[in-house]
């Protein structure tokens, strides 16, 4: 388990981290979300010693992280970068060896991962000959080639087309199922909701919400109501019991309601012919909005 405890970091007058605490468990995937500049990248760099926090600790298996541990981690930094003129198979194999694989092990793992990621025909191409999306795949391969126990990925989905994003999701799910602790940052909340058992929401350097996503939803003080009716007059929505906020769109009314309210009273409050009605725990987006506002 990767545990970050009370990390703080100040750059001049900017408080980048201000009590950042969460844990990434093996065999589970954690989505790390928060507004731009909230401290996601700084937190991830702390894991690799690239940033030294002013206070707080980062531990892996309850021990401070040493050079030997770093070899069992895989990292996709926010600043993507590889050697442009190097052949991609040589490149990935180089990083495999740097992480402690033997030359032959690394070569085999490289070929298997690049083939898996759809680059099997291009092993001898130089990186600069590849499209941006394919370069991202090579970047992922360098994070995976040494079969790490912990994967830290900074915005792995940014800039990917839907097909590549599906491939990325599939690989991450599979690694997680194989017992790897996975943490990735993203702004795509529905994607995080789809993939992750755990989440951590960071805002202004502080973790404002973290834990098992399903439990967080259950424990939330709000519920999400989604109603569509035949008519277009939704004036009734403003008078729903326990109403916190309401939005109207072409699919109907989406309202955030206090969790104690009986759904039956809500159903009764709807004016018009109901086409669909759902009353459910909040989505990650709802939790995020509530936590970050």
């Amino acid at each position: 388990m990767l545990e970050l405890t009370n990390l703080t970091k100040r750059y001049g007058t900017v408080q980048a981290l201000d009590g950042c605490t969460f844990a990434v468990r093996r065999g589970r995937m954690l989505g790390f979300v928060g507004p731009n500049g909230a401290g996601k990248t700084t937190t991830m760099r702390c894991v690799f010693g690239l940033v030294k926090p002013d206070a707080g600790s980062v531990t892996w298996k309850s021990q401070p992280i040493g050079p030997a541990d770093l070899l069992t981690f895989g990292y996709m930094p926010e600043q993507r970068g590889l050697y442009p003129k190097m052949r991609i198979a040589d490149q990935v194999a180089y990083f495999g060896e740097l992480h402690g694989l033997s030359r032959s092990e690394s070569k085999a793992a490289t070929e298997s991962w690049l083939t898996r990621l759809g680059l099997g025909e291009r092993l001898d191409d130089r990186l600069e000959q590849l499209s941006h999306g394919n370069q991202q795949r090579v970047q992922l391969a360098t994070a995976l080639v040494h079969d790490p126990d912990l994967l830290v990925l900074d915005e792995p989905f940014s800039g990917l087309d839907p097909q590549a994003a599906d491939l990325m999701s599939e690989v991450l799910r599979e690694r997680s199922a194989a017992g790897v602790a996975v943490v990735f940052s993203s702004h795509q909340l529905d994607l995080v909701e789809d993939l992750c058992e755990d989440v951590a929401v960071i805002n202004v350097g502080r973790i404002v919400l973290t834990g098992d996503l399903a439990e967080l939803k259950r424990a939330s003080s709000v519920r999400r109501l989604h109603v569509s009716t035949a008519g277009s007059d939704h004036g009734w929505a403003r008078h729903l019991p326990g109403l916190i906020s309401v939005e109207q769109n072409h699919q109907g009314v989406v309202a955030i309601i206090e969790s104690g309210v009986d759904p039956a009273t809500l159903l009764a409050a709807v004016d018009g012919s109901i086409e669909s009605f759902s009353f459910s725990p909040p989505s990650l987006t709802d939790l995020y909005r509530e936590a970050v506002q």
Binding site: K52, A68, Q79
Partner: protein, 398 residues
């Protein structure tokens, strides 16, 4: 992973990727081509010995001409051509149009073109020397000496020389090797310093650095890079120099004596040490900057150190056993220049050589650790150039 393995991996990547690059291949080929041209073209343009034409007119020229032929050399290093003229106008016209370099009149007067020229007038020099030799010969005629004996007396070294160091004064080869080594090392440091400088900024400009430094220590990366680039630089340089030496032997265009082994070994050892310490300094500068464009201006202090040390060495070696020479021996930046020359002049003790080498190696190691720390500190400041103190203090640990 051990440091050796990490450094070895970086070294291997550096060497294989650079050898594969077109720039390296073309650069090496072009250098060899230029060396070939330097040695072969003069051979084609100037195939034979120097030819000197002089003219004579009037009487009494024969004794001077005979002596001049002796002076021109038994090995025909100068081929003397003598043309006889009957009328003064024709002879002067020949001087005018360059057919002859000098005209000897009655064995007493000399006519030359008299224009300023970069090439000395070999003809008139020869004739003057011959006339002087004949005059001396006449003075000593009573002693019964021949002109050959007089010339020998005038040009030979009459005093028997014995040196205290045991190095033959007649054999300047050791000194030549040491000074040539000094010059070559100086050239190599300045030429290849930019390789190291650019090489060390490579990971920053392509941003691969974050993955690398999250895996291995910055000083391991820097050591691998410096030794990898150094291997290729020294390899290319040795190939160039070796090829040049081989060509000069083949064409005979430069008269090379056999190189004394101990002096050559000392020159090579200190070439490597000198190259290493300056490479490490260039690497330190590369560690400080984040973009290749900033690197060359930031490297000025290192270049000044290299040039300054070279100049100090040249001055110092007028007195190779003097105090400044002894101090320079133990300063790691001047030692690589000073030690081989002092060794060649037999003005240094063995313990001094060993001690100087240890100081240089220790300094190089220390500097690479410092450079590693600076590298880590400057790492995440993409963009502006960092002040040395900021980089140092923002580093975590190396």
């Amino acid at each position: 992973m051990t440091s050796w393995r990490a450094i070895g991996l970086v070294w291997r990547r550096e060497v294989t990727e650079r050898i594969r690059s077109k720039v390296f291949m073309i650069g090496t080929a072009a250098t060899l081509l230029i060396i070939t041209a330097i040695f072969v073209i003069p051979q084609l343009v100037n195939p034979g010995p120097d030819e000197v034409s002089i003219g004579v007119i009037g009487a009494d020229s024969a004794p001077i001409i005979a002596t001049a032929r002796l002076l021109a050399g038994p090995d025909d290093s100068i081929e003397l051509k003598v043309l006889e003229y009957d009328d003064m106008a024709g002879a002067e016209a020949a001087v005018e149009d360059g057919t002859i370099e000098a005209l000897l009149i009655d064995g007493t007067d000399l006519v030359t073109l008299g224009q300023g020229s970069f090439s000395s007038n070999v003809g008139s020099e020869l004739l003057q020397e011959a006339a002087a030799a004949n005059a001396v010969e006449q003075l000593v005629a009573e002693t019964g000496m021949t002109s050959e004996q007089v010339i020998e007396l005038m040009t030979g070294e009459l005093l028997e020389t014995r040196t205290l160091s045991g190095v033959s004064a007649d054999d300047p080869t050791r000194e030549i090797v040491a000074y040539a080594g000094l010059m070559l090392m100086y050239m190599a440091i300045l030429m290849y310093g930019t390789w190291t400088l650019a090489g060390v900024t490579e990971e920053k400009s392509n941003r691969v650095v974050e993955i690398l430094v999250s895996t291995i220590q910055p000083w391991q990366l820097l050591t691998g890079k410096v030794t990898g680039i150094g291997t290729l630089a020294i390899g290319q340089f040795a190939l160039t120099v070796g090829y040049g030496l081989a060509l000069s032997r083949l064409t005979g265009s430069v008269d090379l004596a056999d190189v004394p082994l101990d002096s050559a070994a000392m020159v090579i050892l200190w070439f490597v040490l000198g190259f290493a310490i300056y490479s490490v300094m260039f690497a330190g500068v590369g560690a400080l900057v984040s973009r290749a464009e900033d690197a060359s201006s930031a490297s000025t202090p290192v270049t000044i150190a290299a040039v300054g040390s070279f100049m100090i060495t040249i001055v110092t070696l007028n007195e190779p056993s003097g105090l400044t020479a002894q101090i320079a021996t133990f300063v790691p930046f001047t030692a690589p220049y000073v030690v081989p020359v002092r060794f060649a002049l037999d003005a240094i003790a063995w313990w001094e050589i060993v001690f100087a080498a240890l100081i240089t190696i220790a300094t190089a190691y220390l500097l690479i650790r410092v450079a590693g720390r600076i590298y880590r500190g400057a790492l995440l400041s993409y963009g502006a150039r960092l002040k040395l103190r900021e980089a140092w203090s923002s580093a975590t640990d190396t």
